[in-house]
């Protein structure tokens, strides 16, 4: 079915394309920017785009959680680490190894072309959904089918917080 640009569906498609460009530009900035602060800003832009993609995949809840955890916690923690640990004169990356750029590019092009051809050539079949995937269903499943993983992940998070404090505190003079 043809869709015109000025129908609601067409505008949604346009919004998705904009979202796509935001994600990819943010990702390119995050992995190539010369200064680490710019790389973090690129990461934040990329994560906003990824949250939009989750919204297009019928999951506003995961989109909100993504913004909350990645932009609200991880990106802020990384920028704190840059402020604490990156010395002023070394904010720029040093002279890069001359062969690492081309080797990285070749590896990544092979990887991406392999994954993309796999995605394009496979016939994906879909099956009938057995529930609606709402937040209510997620909550019920988290506390019934996946309760063991849920408890384990809380222990892992607790240990990660304690371990981060212990590692970051060791070696202080006072």
């Amino acid at each position: 079915m043809m869709k015109t640009l000025f129908s609601p569906d067409g505008l949604v498609g346009l919004l998705f394309l904009f979202n796509l460009i935001v994600t990819l530009v943010g990702g390119i900035v995050a992995c190539t920017a010369e200064r680490l602060v710019r790389a973090v800003i690129g990461l934040v832009i990329c994560f906003v785009g990824v949250a939009g993609i989750y919204y297009f995949l019928n999951s506003p809840f995961i989109a909100m959680m993504h913004i909350l955890i990645y932009i609200g916690a991880v990106a802020v923690a990384i920028s704190f680490a840059i402020m604490l640990a990156a010395p002023e004169e070394k904010m720029r990356l040093g002279p890069t190894n001359p062969i690492s750029g081309p080797i990285g590019l070749i590896t990544v092009l092979l990887l991406i072309s392999g994954l993309v051809s796999l995605a394009l050539k496979t016939e994906w079949t879909s099956v009938k959904k057995i529930n609606d995937g709402s937040v209510r269903t997620i909550g019920i499943q988290l506390l019934t089918n996946h309760s063991m993983v849920f408890e384990l992940i809380s222990i892992v998070l607790l240990l990660a917080i304690l371990g981060a404090l212990v590692i970051a505190r060791g070696g202080r003079e006072d």
């Binding site: 993609i53 990645y70 923690a77 995605a119």
Partner: protein
């Protein structure tokens, strides 16, 4: 216009995820600082999460399972970032540097 219906196809999301994954691998190979490598690892995890969510939306019978998996990936990524950043800070306190080339104490 086929461009405007891209958001309704599984392949689009798989290609985006592959591109993000590739950017993460490129960052891991070329970055000279530990924090830059952590940023690249976050891109890798975002690519993996998009794959899970795309298959969850288009092919999986239980649409709650992929979302739960993505939530667990987020928790693991937060733990990984906390531990990684504290290692970076400890490393900086010992060596006044965050470059990977200086982390050579265990070199034979």
């Amino acid at each position: 216009m086929p461009l405007l219906t891209l958001y309704d196809q599984l392949t689009t999301y798989l290609v985006i995820a592959a591109l993000l994954f590739g950017m993460g691998v490129y960052g891991l190979i070329t970055r000279q600082t530990l924090i830059g490598m952590l940023i690249a690892a976050e891109l890798l995890l975002a690519g993996a999460s998009i794959n899970f969510m795309a298959f969850n939306r288009f092919t999986a019978p239980d649409p709650a399972l992929g979302q739960i998996f993505t939530l667990f990936i987020m928790a693991i990524a937060a733990a990984e970032a906390a531990i990684g950043l504290s290692i970076v800070i400890a490393f900086y306190r010992h060596l006044k540097s965050i470059e990977t080339a200086d982390a050579a104490h265990l070199k034979g």
